[in-house]
């Protein structure tokens, strides 16, 4: 996989659930999305992003989770972000 701009982000994961996932993927030689490193680098900030995403995507609301994921996928497609 292509290295990230900031090697320290990959080299210094902090204790977090996603860091455990990274270790499992690496020990199995599996590919994994590098956004995991962002979530594992500054968990004190990114934990709020995770919570926000959970709330906006899965929290109570009139739009079904499927429709909400479609909106997210549509926006990401137009931002040219394949992940």
């Amino acid at each position: 996989m292509k290295p990230m701009f900031l090697p320290e982000v990959e080299a210094n994961p902090q204790a977090s659930p996603v860091t455990d996932l990274i270790r499992i993927a690496q020990s199995n030689g599996a590919e994994y999305p590098k956004i995991w490193h962002l979530f594992g680098y500054r968990p004190e900030a990114t934990a709020h992003l995770g919570e926000f995403t959970q709330g906006i995507m899965r929290g109570e609301g009139p739009l079904s989770s499927g429709i909400r994921e479609l909106i997210a996928a549509f926006t990401s497609y137009h931002n040219d972000c394949p992940f």
Binding site: F5, L6, P7, E8, V9, L38, Y41, R42, E44, A45, H48, L49, E51, F52, G55, I56, G59, E60, N79, D80, C81
Partner: protein, 190 residues
């Protein structure tokens, strides 16, 4: 006029916090970590990054409020905030902050604009990986906040009165108390 029915008299994102308190708490918690919590970049520098991105996105509410918070942190220096918005490369800020503002500006323009030379410039000026990381996250988060505020056409008064007191309060106390404060304010309305 806002595109959806929002509490009257609350400007910008504050009206949205009242509309959807479920998301307000996490957004304010994120803003607090990024802008207010202890870090190697000063709160003034981080607020300048937020203000610059908001001005590039032409978001009146965000650039005014965060510009006022930045000015408060920088010793009530409104002129410096204006200089950074107009032309940060020639403003009276450190070379490191200029390099970080350059990265923030690239993030504002789209998702694939930061180049290795932008990162190298920041490193050369002494920026750490955490500082570069946080700069990108502040810029990305403010693109979200700016669009959230403007694409729902929230109301905000054109002039600054009132912003100044709130800016001083946020600069001193951070962002965590905002959701509760705006809900209490909205609850007091007839």
């Amino acid at each position: 006029m806002p595109h959806i029915q929002l509490a009257e008299g609350l400007p910008g994102i504050r009206s949205l916090f009242v509309f959807r308190p479920e998301t307000a708490a996490t957004l304010c918690a994120l803003a607090d970590v990024l802008l207010h919590a202890p870090g190697t970049l000063t709160p003034g520098e981080r607020e300048l990054i937020a203000t610059y991105v908001s001005s590039q996105n032409d978001c009146h509410y965000c650039q005014t409020t965060h510009g006022a918070i930045a000015a408060y942190h920088l010793g009530r220096n409104d002129a410096l905030v204006a200089d950074v918005k107009r032309d940060f490369e020639h403003a009276g800020v450190s070379e490191k902050l200029k390099a970080l503002l350059n990265i923030a500006g690239k993030v504002q323009r789209g998702g694939k604009n930061v180049q290795p030379e932008d990162i190298e410039r920041a490193r050369r000026e002494g920026a750490t990986d955490v500082e570069i990381h946080d700069t990108v996250l502040i810029a990305a988060a403010f693109c979200m906040f700016n669009r959230y505020v403007d694409e729902l056409a929230t109301w905000a008064p054109p002039e600054i009165p009132g912003y100044r007191e709130r800016a001083a309060h946020v600069a001193e106390h951070g962002y965590l108390g905002i959701p509760k404060a705006v809900l209490a304010h909205a609850g007091n309305k007839p």
